[in-house]
């Protein structure tokens, strides 16, 4: 057998989030805790930075969540702050695409978003768990209204192109029938005495009683077509009133077909700590929180600044940069200290004067591939025809997911779907295409779940994160071994330079990781500044 250093490192995230769902909630939680994914945010309330020495300057590189939080807090603390940002906008990956926005990816393909007013897609982060206290606190303090993000929708689909004739199945059917079948099987085992070594007589009775409720079993512990199971999984025709016809009971999916499809494996979502209710999204787009921070510090931010070198000596930090789009003469910025939030995928290609341990850390984080689509349709057929309001459908097609908008539900008119959210090998394959090719493929795939696609599709945008000029990837996907070796070194203050961002957190890919990393680092930097003043 060949040696594999870390079998989970490559597609760890998609395995865990979208596919590895059969492993069982407890096992998943254990695995995710080991990987550093399942830790609750350690946010301890608004940061207190008092006693900043007058006239001390701090240069911040990058105006994403980490850089903006740092600029916001350090300026309030009395520091002389300047921010350099590569893009022609602030926010970084906390980004929303709306009608009129333009985006040029590496390779030169330019897209213009043609969404109608009010419609948008978040190509980066799109949801905030209830335990991301830092993000929630900034939204509250900056008065950014939130609305519910509906992660689980029981009327959305689970789809296997190879099962049930390729017909998508309602989540509620898979959910109810899987629970029903396993409850029936377990009841059989108990009633045949096969678990006598495990259970007392009293516990057997208690278990049977709970299985009857859990699986909606009949008096003989069978999971069958009945009013009771239709109350659980839904009727084939709805219950009416007056002289309307009575409802038609629905028929559970046979156990073998259900197991063969593997669709039950998608149902971990309700048990995933990062994805359990309540979840939130900012009203109007994910970039609202970043933009609220930016509004407070905008005069300090120089956009279109491409950092080309980061130098330091015992007195301060010197950063060389050029105009990101026109190039031209090198410009220089100098400050007493520097907080660098540039993604490691970019920073590893820039000369930066730090010690060997931090340099090795900067060069050791592989950036994950991911692709997200926003597709505008003439009407919200998923609501009007299929009664899917928000939430997500999962599929084995390359698009992997379809996300339904949580905003504007049941109001009619046009809508924008998240037409795909892709990880792993499929993300590389989409990345190797042009935007037009990707969108065509996403529409073609989506039509297998929603046949309305071809008639209703209007326009789309796609962001493939490895083509992103400002990140060259989605997030720092540390292997366990690399994190073990480099994480402490990455998070130190090296002379007068410190790093921050999701890459310097134990909440990789989440905005909360960037926020906490920023707060932790500026807190330590502030202490050091005050101590050495």
């Amino acid at each position: 057998m060949r040696h594999v250093q870390n079998p989970l490192s490559i597609s760890r995230r998609d395995l865990l989030r979208k596919i590895g769902f059969s492993a069982g909630a407890a096992m998943m939680y254990q695995a995710m805790s080991t990987l550093g994914f399942a830790r609750e945010s350690d946010y301890g309330g608004p940061i207190e930075l008092s006693g900043a020495p007058k006239g001390t300057s701090i240069l911040i590189l990058g105006a994403g969540m980490a850089g903006l939080v740092a600029a916001y807090e350090l300026r309030r603390a009395g520091y002389d702050v300047k921010v350099l940002e590569y893009n022609h906008r602030a926010g970084g990956r906390s980004w929303t695409l709306r009608g009129g926005d333009e985006y040029t990816e590496l390779g030169g393909h330019k897209q213009k978003c043609e969404f109608d007013p009010g419609l948008y897609v978040n190509p980066g982060p799109w949801r905030i768990p209830y335990h991301h206290h830092g993000m929630l606190d900034y939204a509250r303090r900056l008065k950014v209204p939130l609305e519910a993000f509906n992660q689980v929708n029981f009327n959305a689909y689970l789809h296997s192109s190879k099962d049930f004739g390729g017909k998508p199945q309602r989540y509620r059917h898979i959910y109810a029938d899987y629970h029903g079948h396993i409850a029936e099987l377990l009841s059989k085992a108990v009633n045949k005495g096969q678990l006598d070594a495990e259970l007392t007589t009293e516990d057997k009775e208690r278990l049977l009683e709970s299985l009857r409720t859990f699986g909606v079993l009949d008096k003989d512990y069978r999971y069958v077509k009945s009013f009771a199971t239709s109350e659980s999984r839904g009727y084939d025709s709805e219950r009416g009133a007056g002289l309307m016809p009575p409802p038609q009971l629905s028929t559970p999916i046979a156990r073998d077909a259900l197991l063969k499809s593997g669709l039950a494996n998608y149902m971990v979502t309700p048990f995933d700590y990062d994805l359990t209710p309540s979840m939130f999204q900012p009203v109007g787009g994910m970039d609202r929180i970043a933009m609220a921070l930016y509004n407070d510090v905008a005069p300090l931010v120089e956009l279109d600044a491409k950092v080309t070198a980061i130098d330091q000596d015992e007195r301060g930090v010197g950063v060389t940069y050029v105009d990101a789009h026109r190039g031209g003469e090198a410009k220089h910025a100098r400050a007493d200290w520097c907080l660098c939030t540039i993604p490691l995928s970019i920073l590893s290609e820039i000369p930066v004067k730090v010690g060997e341990p931090m340099l090795a850390a900067i060069q050791s984080a592989p950036y994950e591939a991911s692709v997200k689509f926003g597709l505008q349709f003439k009407r919200r057929f998923w609501e009007e025809d299929e009664r899917i309001y928000g939430g997500i459908s999962f599929t084995d097609l390359p698009i992997q997911m379809i996300g339904y908008p949580m905003a504007g539900m049941n109001q009619g008119g046009k809508g924008v779907l998240l037409g795909g959210y892709v990880w792993g090998t499929n993300a590389y394959e989409f990345n190797a295409m042009t935007p037009e090719q990707r969108i065509r493929k996403a529409v073609e795939s989506g039509a297998k779940i929603h046949p309305q696609y071809p008639a209703e599709f209007e326009n789309g945008v796609v962001v493939s994160w490895h083509r992103s000029p400002f990140t060259q990837g989605c997030f720092a996907n540390w292997s366990d071994a690399a994190r073990e070796k480099h994480y402490q070194n990455l998070c130190q203050i090296d002379g007068r330079i410190a790093l921050a961002g999701e890459h310097a957190s134990r909440l990789p890919a989440w905005q909360e990781g960037a926020v906490l990393s920023s707060l932790d680092t500026i807190g330590r930097m502030h202490k050091k500044i005050v101590a050495t003043a």
Binding site: I19, G108, A432
Partner: protein, 143 residues
């Protein structure tokens, strides 16, 4: 972790196992060198194509571009075209297997034969003319 991996990977292949056919691409008139994806999507968890040219088009060109000249943004993707670092086949093979800087490792996505194929393809195209071919067995030793 081995147990978890053993559980997840077969499942992942089963769930995301569609080999969806992709219609031939129509190129926009003003495009730089055309991207020609290989025409199919593979099982999540492993790339299916066997020959170097197709693997390059399915994976590498996404970042290193169709002409292998790389790309520049806030950072850059290095050119593979005319790249002196390809003189030894070991170097590109190690980069593909283990990754380098922000580039992810592909060792778990590709067999030894696929790694050899794609390295040999890049070392004999795009202005690279290295006559020695990397073998599957040599790749196996680098894992």
């Amino acid at each position: 972790m081995a147990t978890l991996h053993d559980t997840l990977l077969p499942l992942c292949r089963k769930l995301i196992g569609a080999l969806a056919l992709f219609a031939p691409a129509v190129m926009a008139a003003d495009e730089p060198p055309p991207f020609s994806p290989p025409g199919s999507f593979t099982d999540l968890g492993h790339f299916a194509h066997e020959d170097g040219a197709t693997l390059f088009r399915a994976i590498c060109q996404g970042c290193h571009m169709a002409d292998a000249k790389g790309a520049v943004g806030a950072g850059y993707y290095p050119a593979l075209a005319g790249n002196q670092k390809l003189a030894s086949a070991t170097y590109p093979a190690l980069v593909v297997l283990k990754g380098r800087h922000g580039m992810p490792p592909f060792g778990d996505y590709l067999t030894d034969a696929q790694v050899a194929e794609v390295v040999n393809y890049v070392r004999s195209h795009f202005g690279n003319q290295y006559p020695d071919a990397l073998t599957q067995a040599e790749v196996a030793k680098l894992r």
